[in-house]
Symmetry: C2
Subunit: 242 residues, 2 copies
């Protein structure tokens, strides 16, 4: 990186605390220069000189950006741009919602609308490599279920592998958000639903592999609708336990 050519606006006279303003300047640099995880930030001395602030302020600003997963500190190597800068787990703060049951139902309402469309677009746009990837994650879920291991992390990966077939930049990022509720209330862990997960996932994968958009959409709809039924029946049981 050519430090001389960095053209920071000097940080002054705004409303935010100074480290926050310096953090914004560093963020802007990353965006403007399209820096990636290969790129190292200038060190504290250089940043302090460029931005005309003390090293303590630079340190505070870097901490803010690390907390937001924009920068990562590699011990003994320096400060780098994160792999997926700015992207954090649970970005909408769902963990802080009071009514987690209503949240799970509402997420399934969104999924029931989104994911059949995603599956149909996947069937239209998937490359051979995409389809191999769908089958690979499909088998991971099956292996987890058959060996009695928690399959939910790979279940999310399976749905992301389908989202990637669309070659839309946004869709694979939305899937982890809307699948947030998977596994809340143990709704996917009943035996009948485990069997449905295996057969449902296979049916979807086959439809995408055969480039049948309509069948992919229908199979995805059935799969998610089945999960929603299970959740609703759990809800009824919560209200009226035997």
């Amino acid at each position: 990186m050519d430090i001389e050519s960095l053209n920071f606006e000097h940080v002054k006279s705004q409303d935010l605390p100074l480290p926050e303003r310096v953090a914004a300047q560093i963020s802007k640099l990353i965006v403007d220069r399209q820096l990636t995880s290969e790129d190292k930030l200038p060190n504290e001395f250089e940043l302090a000189a460029m931005l005309n602030v003390g090293r303590g302020t630079i340190r505070e600003a870097v901490k803010l950006l690390v907390a937001r997963n924009i920068l990562v500190i590699k011990r003994g190597k320096g400060t780098y741009i994160a792999h997926h800068p700015g992207q954090i787990d649970d970005p909408l703060g769902f963990a802080y919602y009071e009514d987690q049951f209503q949240l799970a139902k509402d997420l399934l309402e969104v999924r029931l609308q989104m994911e059949p469309w995603v599956a149909s677009l996947a069937a239209k746009k998937a490359t051979d490599e995409d389809i191999e990837n769908v089958w690979a994650t499909c088998h991971l879920v099956e292996n987890d279920i058959l060996s009695g291991v928690d399959h939910l992390p790979n279940d999310t990966k399976y749905h992301i592998s389908i989202a990637k077939c669309t070659h839309n930049l946004v869709v694979p990022k939305l899937i982890p958000i809307i699948t947030y509720s998977v596994g809340l209330f143990g709704s996917l862990n009943g035996n009948s639903l485990l069997a449905e997960t295996i057969s449902g996932h296979r049916t979807i994968a086959e439809a995408i592999a055969s480039r049948n958009a309509e069948r992919a959409s229908q199979a995805m709809y059935n799969h998610i609708a089945r999960n929603r039924e299970e959740l609703i029946s759990i809800g009824k049981h919560m209200e009226n336990p035997d």
Copy 2:
């Protein structure tokens, strides 16, 4: 808050740095107790004693949670839970994407699928108060456009006001994400598109107000499709400028 009853697991022997682990413990406390923005955290001394770590570590942990918008510090009052804990601007890190034009196109592809459904659900579920709110934001956008002010912040509010009519917890949170690209490339600022925005927004609001789900869906589709056409024509112009 009854401090004696706080039952923290003592923080030990995990892989993350200590302040990060303490931050996770404090997050867990907020979730478990369903603390809201009315609630104050115990002070540094109390937290340090409860978690069996130094006050410096508590301070670092609190900074991490402030950076993630989970806590806010009110000067002279103490540390409180944020209003929408954990929710940050640009949660998917779209600002860091290299190809912002492709991102804008892909966002519009998602909106073209999602928002007509949102409008139809809004028409089915809106209360009278919801509809008043849709009209209010509709008028804010019109006033902005007619007075030559940037209407994009209120444009996003208009789409959120429709999302709120659905009474789904997730949909209003997704709209600000997928409307991220509004205004990139100035695509909404051509005069013909400004006129379309006014009439398009009115048509959608009227359909929702008259509880006509099909017409609301169609009007929203037309509105977003018109924006997409404009974006694509800007893209062609960028490739082949006169």
